[in-house]
């Protein structure tokens, strides 16, 4: 690890702690921090300061009835929509299409392997689907992203990652930093899968975000 790399990361440590870096820069900085304890310590110290910034906002009384509405949402039994079948059919169609695309990809990979190439991408398969590796904080491969070439693109994210079981947000982060929530992935015993449709813009990264907003792993959306 060179001193210049550490200097670059430390110059950007405040923005990394504030989570206001753009996608590619953030990914590069996280990759470095995962391997460099000294830089990780610097970022952690800024993060400690960042954590108190939201306390600067004054408290405010929410509208009348707010408390009861939120508690009702928390304690009400799960509701079943009367119009459940269109959503189920749409979800099933998406999953079938994605699985077919993924299957086509597997079928054309040597030996059916899903191992990543050195660049982290697998070449497109018959114009149908592309794949990339989901990379964790420690720059390790923790899952895969499959996306079809058609628009709107169908997408599947699967992870094999030892994070606490629970619900995690799948979001798309554009090259300019804007994020768009795509859905929720349920992770149980370190395994989770999510399928859905991407935003109109098929650029940027797909990220898995924990409830506190920390990005656990991400992958660039493969374009070629």
């Amino acid at each position: 690890m060179t001193a210049l790399e550490c200097a670059d990361v430390r110059e950007n440590a405040p923005e990394l702690a504030l989570d206001v870096m753009s996608g590619p820069d953030r990914a590069a900085a996280l990759e470095h921090v995962s391997e460099c304890a000294d830089c990780r310590s610097v970022v952690a110290e800024f993060t400690e300061a960042v954590d108190v910034v939201p306390f600067l906002a004054a408290e405010a009384e929410p509208p009348l009835g707010f408390h009861d509405r939120v508690v009702r949402e928390m304690t009400a039994p799960p509701r079943r929509s009367r119009r459940w079948w269109p959503a189920v059919l749409a979800a099933a169609a998406v999953m079938v299409a994605v699985v077919v695309a993924a299957a086509a990809l597997f079928a054309t990979s040597p030996g059916g392997s899903t191992r990543a190439t050195a660049a982290g991408h697998i070449p497109p398969v018959a114009g149908n689907a592309r794949s990339a590796v989901m990379v964790g904080d420690g720059n390790e491969a923790v899952g895969r992203l499959f996306v079809t070439a058609r628009e709107p693109a169908l997408m599947m994210v699967s992870v094999d990652y030892p994070v606490p079981s629970g619900s995690y947000t799948v979001q798309q982060r554009g090259d300019h930093g804007a994020t768009h929530r795509l859905g929720e992935m349920q992770v149980a015993d370190g395994h989770g899968t999510w399928g859905g449709v991407t935003a109109d813009d098929h650029h940027g990264s797909i990220q898995l975000v924990d409830p506190a907003g920390a990005v656990l792993c991400e992958s660039r959306i493969p374009t070629t």
Binding site: E11, P14, S41, E48, A49, V52, E59, E73, M74, R181
Partner: protein, 195 residues
């Protein structure tokens, strides 16, 4: 009349929330709703939108209560981080409208309105930070509010403030170091050595 559950710690309350206890749910919302709504209002500057953000933040905390990790911070810090991220995502779709941080109604550098449920030590920290920020030059305070509360990148701040990128980065860094100094008066050497 306050119930017994109102007196338990934040961590215990969160555990009750994760277990589906209705009393814990009510006490949790009661304890955090003013701070969550205040932060959401400060960031999105629209009362209706802030209500949506605050509701979603509390529901998200409820859904993920079981995965809260106390080693990474307090419950309040965790809930406010969820709120901040949701609010920033909400206003990002309205960009690139420039926001004048001095026009934000919820920034309260001199407030002394502690919630009765707040941890005394945390209140002391926040008061120290408020004091430190009140002494910051205006441009550094603006940079910290823009990045820390509104989610602007240093590049966006440089464009809005019409200053070089390096200046924007320096303002953010200096303001955060002041915050850090306020939290740890005796231990800021290591941060400053990386300038």
């Amino acid at each position: 009349m306050p119930s017994a559950v109102d007196a338990v710690s934040d961590e215990s309350l969160l555990a009750g929330l994760a277990a589906g206890d209705p009393d814990a749910a009510s006490a949790f919302v009661n304890r955090f709703q003013r701070r969550v709504f205040g932060l959401a209002s400060t960031i999105v500057r629209d009362r209706g939108m802030a209500e949506d953000v605050a509701q979603e933040a509390l529901l998200r905390a409820w859904r993920h209560a079981a995965s809260f990790d106390p080693r990474r911070g307090t419950v309040t810090t965790w809930v406010l981080a969820i709120t901040r991220n949701l609010a920033i995502d909400t206003i990002r779709v309205r960009r690139p409208t420039a926001v004048d941080p001095s026009s934000l109604p919820g920034i309260d550098l001199a407030a002394a309105n502690p919630s009765p449920d707040e941890i005394p030590g945390l209140r002391d920290d926040v008061d120290q930070v408020r004091g430190a920020l009140a002494e910051l030059p205006e441009e550094q305070r603006r940079a910290l509010v823009m990045a820390g509360l509104l989610g602007y990148t240093a590049r966006e701040i440089s464009e809005i403030e019409e200053i070089p990128l390096g200046t924007a980065k320096t303002r953010i860094r200096t303001a955060l170091m002041r915050v850090r100094r306020a939290l740890h008066d005796d231990n800021v050497v290591e941060l400053e050595s990386y300038r």
